[in-house]
Symmetry: C2
Subunit: 371 residues, 2 copies
């Protein structure tokens, strides 16, 4: 289908407490499955979502070699959208696996965005108390963030990711080609997570984004490759140092404490996840400035980069009181005390407890009236 | 309530891949919580089932010191019975935890039998990706087997334990006093698991049971203590050598391959779990004899001890074809191939693959027509 072009893959290794696995990014990443010990499994399943699988399934099966592999890969499809990240969908997928004879030596390949990735990882981690799985993320957020690190989850009621596990995949294969059919909005939404990683790691990655992020386009596979590779390297590095989120891994929560609250306060209807994180990054930056933590100039530099990603959906009318009320429910809160991740400069963040709610409210007000 | 009597506790240590924890058995075991670092948790929850908690809750809170502890322990109650071992109950309990402010530093104490133990362990292992928990088992099976080793699970449809995790508790406290309100039948059902452990470890434990198991009674707390302690030591020993069920831990499946099929073939209505295991032990023994694996005399000795536990519900009319069809779905089967655990003599079992179905059918027929 694609002919024999040359592949330049970026590879980082993640060491979990169980085993080490590769995260492979770049054009041709799906071909990595040809080197994976597929024949050692009793059966192979691909979990995906319907429209995505219709568009990309055959390309994926062809490039990955699964088309001709033995055992044959069998797809299990779930409806797209956040509502699939639920325990009743775990029940559905586990039931399908059982019906089709999956056992402890079966392999699950998770082909999809954040929803399928989190759901599939959770099913893999709990089906017969755990089977091997491979992540093949198909969105920007999946490729640079959620597919790496072994965090799996489903939502309970309105609470995102309330139930989940730490369970590393055996391999992550991030193929930028699949991003080419993302909508412009979904694509840009993922770039806010890329910006988050750039804030954590600083220059030269941050500067690279300043130069080009505004004009990035989902079909520019070649231009995307190094950016995605740099972004995922940040994630891999953090996970390598703190798989279980004891402290360091919390830094990945930058922009997410308020981001989650924005999503929940608007019933998950107004913002895509990345867009809520975009607002969360702006608010965290403002909060850090208010607390005198953030070096002068850097706050402006961060805000400018966030704004450059694209237009964010309006936030002015989101009830601030509601957002503030939702904060102590954050999973990273301990005894109701929120641990804030706040930028100190481009390339450095700090975890701060005991931030007065008054300051949070003021930062929130300033950012949300500011648009 | 009990005054200051002296306590003789049996203690074994289990080493998981994460940490080591104590399994404390005997009159006064609940008092161990007084030495547990309760104050280091942000909140404490007790998961239990309604009638059990009404009968034993205040005794437990008093003896354990939870009554006066800070933070105060809050009960979450689920209906008794196997139907509570379901993903929708995971959803309910997680929702309750969230509503009452549970966070990552919360402690869950699981007070109940196998259903609550497996459900509670699963919730603890997945709520916010894992919180600490303590097992306080209140049935014989719980005390000698399921509460030790960190296996958690819920059922999916008719398939028992299809979804679960390996997640060790921080402490197991097995108080025999609580067994005194078990029905005679529920009590005896648990003794089949005790017999299973005796087959694995052999004499002198096996001989001890031969002498007294027929006359054991749920209210004989003092007489029960050493038997429960010996039985749980077998479990702890196996788990210590193979936490993740790679091979050795499979020996605990003795009697369970057919036992599970007996339960499922009768819609979980005829047999208590232990009773199905009792039949499973008899069938595995007969199968081992047929295959020429089991030393002469020992087969008879095992069957006699199983029979001595008490009367088993009838099995003659259970459709054997249905039982045989259910076997390849066993979680320990790989690629449909069942790994049988079969006794070689009292004190030794062997794991055997490739047992001809014809032999299984013949053993099954012989045992089920034999009653």
């Amino acid at each position: 289908m694609m002919g024999w072009i040359s592949f330049m893959l970026h590879r980082v290794q993640v060491t979990s407490d169980k085993f080490a696995y590769d995260v492979v990014t770049g054009r041709g990443a799906w071909r990595e499955l040809r080197r994976f010990p597929l024949t050692s499994y009793s059966s192979i399943f691909v979990l995906s979502e319907k429209p995505l699988w219709e568009r990309w399934g055959s390309t994926f099966l062809g490039e990955s070699g699964l088309e001709k592999a033995s055992p044959r890969a069998r797809p299990i499809l779930v409806p797209p959208g956040e509502r699939s990240k639920a325990l009743r969908m775990v029940e559905f997928v586990a039931g399908q696996l059982l019906k089709q004879g999956a056992d402890r030596r079966s392999l699950m390949i998770v082909f999809g965005g954040g929803v399928v990735g989190d759901l599939g990882g959770f099913v893999a981690s709990t089906y017969m108390r755990g089977i091997d799985y491979v992540q093949a993320p198909t969105t920007v957020v999946g490729q640079v963030d959620s597919a790496v690190g072994g965090k799996t989850a489903v939502n309970v009621g309105a609470m995102k990711n309330l139930v989940g596990t730490f369970y590393p995949p055996r391999l992550v294969i991030a193929e930028p080609l699949v991003l080419s059919t993302l909508s412009e909005r979904a694509f840009r939404s993922g770039l806010y997570e890329v910006v988050k990683h750039a804030i954590l790691v600083g220059d030269p990655f941050f500067r690279q984004l300043e130069r080009g992020i505004g004009s990035l386009h989902p079909r520019q596979t070649r231009r995307l490759e190094p950016i995605l590779a740099s972004a995922v390297a940040v994630k891999a590095d953090v996970v390598n140092r703190d798989e279980r989120e004891t402290t360091l891994r919390l830094v990945l929560n930058l922009g997410h404490t308020l981001g989650h609250a924005f999503e929940e306060a608007t019933g998950y209807r107004r913002f895509l996840h990345g867009e809520a994180v975009g607002w969360g990054l702006l608010a965290a930056t403002r909060l850090a400035e208010r607390l005198g933590l953030l070096a002068s100039g850097d706050g402006e530099r961060i805000a400018r980069l966030v704004r450059r990603v694209g237009p964010l959906p309006p936030i002015r009318d989101v009830p601030r009181a509601k957002v503030l009320r939702l904060l102590p429910q954050d999973k990273k809160a301990i005894g109701g005390n929120i641990r804030w991740v706040l930028p100190e400069r481009v390339g450095k963040v700090k975890i701060v407890a005991d931030v007065p709610m008054k300051e949070v409210a003021a930062a929130l007000k300033s950012v949300t009236s500011d648009q």
